[in-house]
Amino acid sequence: MALLSVANLHAWYGESHVLHGVTLSVEEGETICILGRNGMGKTTTLRTIMGILRKRSGEIRFAGQDMMTVPLHRTAKAGLGFVPEERGIFATLTVEENLMLPPVVAKGGMTLNEIYQLFPNLEERRSSPGTKLSGGEQQMLAMARILRTGARCLLLDEPTEGLAPVIIQRIGEVLVTLKARGMTVVLVEQNFRFASKVADRFYLMDHGQMVADFPVTDLPQNMAMLNTVLGV
């Protein structure tokens, strides 16, 4: 059975109906990538799965549990971890306070030492204010603080947005490391050269729905269709 399965998910911002029946499923240990043009509902999908957006209907199951009735402060406990697009680093907290902020929810998370090995920059800058870090470092911090908690599934929203190629490569390595540890990842990405190196499967999103879904091995024969829908 899939670790995360979403069926016929609808979501609204106030009166504005943004998700129109999203369906997707992710196996344990798998990395899937959601592609789609700006404003198609990728971020909204992650926010709705996480339970941040509460005006929703449909079905979300995670590790066998019905997540639709779980309050926001319990979704993390179920094993879901969210790394937002805007990274959400706290300016009034030091780097280390940012890192230690999310409570540990399960065994199997990384220790502080392992995290500092994976992200040496964070250790060097542990006592500076979180937002004094560079964009790349803030992205690392946003990911690292979830890795500490023992979350089983990472919802990762455009981690490479606005970052330099060397940093993007670094983030790619981190995702490969995580995969080797058995982490399940739902990745939202516009950069699909990057995504094709880490993802096992792709979902293509258009106007609040998934319009295609194929494994990374089928990428070549889907290129024409991707180019049309993504408009690249």
């Binding site: 941040i52 926001l72 993390a76 907290l93 902020l101």
Partner: protein, 295 residues
Amino acid sequence: MTMIFGIPIQALMGQLLVGLINGSFYALLSLGLAVIFGLLRVINFAHGAQYMMGAFVALLLLTQTGIGYWPALLIAPLIVGLFGALIERTMLSRLYKLDHLYGLLFTFGLALTLEGTFRWFFGSSGQPYAPPAALTGAVNLGFMFLPIYRGWVVVASLAVCIGVWLLIEKTKLGSYLRAATENPTLVQSFGINVPLLLTFTYGLGAALAGFAGVLAAPVYQVSPLMGSNLIIVVFAVVVVGGMGSILGAIVTGYMLGIAEGLTKVFYPEASNIVIFVIMAIVLILRPAGLFGKDA
């Protein structure tokens, strides 16, 4: 007689001390307001009433059960804090989704209700509360006599202010509070019970007001309106310090207390309005307050 700027040093020191004592209450009360405003974005108009409650709880503990000052210093803030938490959980928390104005109106109504209730039961006149035996009397500092209780007020308020500042800046709980001030939704998505954090924060703010009330009981008379007189000045302090700034509230509280005391010496006619004049100047030059971040 030693003179400074043509003023006898006794008079100067005396007013400085009065200023420091008033400043101690300003600091404690504006700290509570700042803690509440920082996280809840609610301007707690009931703060003066909660201060009054602290003093009354101490008085009632003494007259009804014989519990004295020292235990009251702990019990009264606890009772006022729990009462605040209860109010937040059952009523105030329902207003967060609405415009902030509703929170302000609610706490204003709460203040009127509390003050009215205490007036109904105890009348408007003040009742004395004797300081504990250990803190009566005065010490001779050479240039003036310092009433021991007044010295204690300054020390106790400073200790509590520093304690709360440390709690917020240096502890794990404090990092939750700071983070939730910036982005409550994200903090909640990490698995932290933010609604409970809000309840705790309102309770903490109310408890600080209650603590100030107990400290004040032996200095001022215990009366239902003791808070409403003070709270206007405290709002001015918060505005000068910068809404929501913890350090700003503390430092500005003492500073303005002293400024008020010094004005009494040099230009007594202005002493009642000096804080508001400073507020006006700060609002013109630095609308976000001395310690506030420009919005």
